[in-house]
């Protein structure tokens, strides 16, 4: 597809379970970002990839959160032992380089019961 694609669009899980969220960036975009937006809050930066490396993981809220990117393409964000406060919309964005316009996916809405 032409845009950033995220899956699943909705995920409901039980507290303590692991979840994996996927992002397919725009082809050729070297920079990839993960954000989250909790209810009533602004977008919160989580992690940034340039190629397959993550020079900035400063936004990851705890060691339960991890992300990887392979083939300078698909990225997965993994949340282990989910907690209720992890409930949010997780947004992925890509850009042609670290300075370019961000193109966002539709987000993955995570609900932890």
């Amino acid at each position: 597809g032409a845009g950033v694609s995220q899956s699943p669009s909705n995920k409901v899980t039980e507290k303590g379970k692991d979840v994996e969220l996927r992002c397919d960036p725009i082809s050729g975009h070297t920079a990839l970002y993960w954000y989250r937006q909790r209810l009533g809050q602004g977008l919160e930066f989580l992690i940034y990839f340039q190629g397959n490396s993550a020079p900035d993981k400063s936004g990851l809220p705890s060691d339960r959160f991890s992300a990887e990117r392979t083939g300078e393409s698909v990225s997965t964000l993994t949340i282990q032992r989910t907690q209720q406060e992890d409930s949010a919309v997780y947004l992925c964005a890509s850009s042609a380089d670290r300075t370019g316009e961000l193109f966002f996916g539709e987000g993955s809405r995570l609900t932890v019961l």
Binding site: G42, F45, T99, L102
Partner: protein, 113 residues
């Protein structure tokens, strides 16, 4: 403490009139400001940006004004159209550093026919 504030959670205007969305920031080191628009169930899309070396940037019906002394920016939409109804996010950061953008909570604009 929110570094980027959009104090109006919602705004309603008549079609054809001007919409003015406001944004205040606290960090005088920000030198790059953006507006993104978000429709329901979609990711944010880039609308317009402005560098701190300018005080105005115009793109069609959309104009962003920056008042550095007041640490305030505004987005003007003239004339407003029903299709402009969306949530508008203000973001601030540093040119060339997408990952450090700080986002406001958004203002929901409703343009009534």
């Amino acid at each position: 403490d929110q570094q980027v504030k959009q104090n109006s959670p919602s705004l309603s205007v008549q079609e054809g009139r001007i919409s003015i969305l406001n944004c205040d920031y606290t960090n005088s080191m920000f030198d790059y400001f953006l507006w993104y628009k978000k429709y329901p169930a979609e990711g944010p899309t880039f609308l317009i940006s402005i560098s701190s070396i300018k005080d105005k940037n115009e793109d069609g019906r959309f104009t962003v004004f920056l008042n550095k002394s007041a640490k305030h920016l505004s987005l003007h939409i003239v004339p407003s159209q029903p299709g402009d109804s969306a949530v508008y996010f203000c973001a601030a950061g540093h040119a060339g550093n997408n990952r450090k953008l700080i986002w406001g909570l958004g203002t929901s604009l409703a343009v009534n026919p």
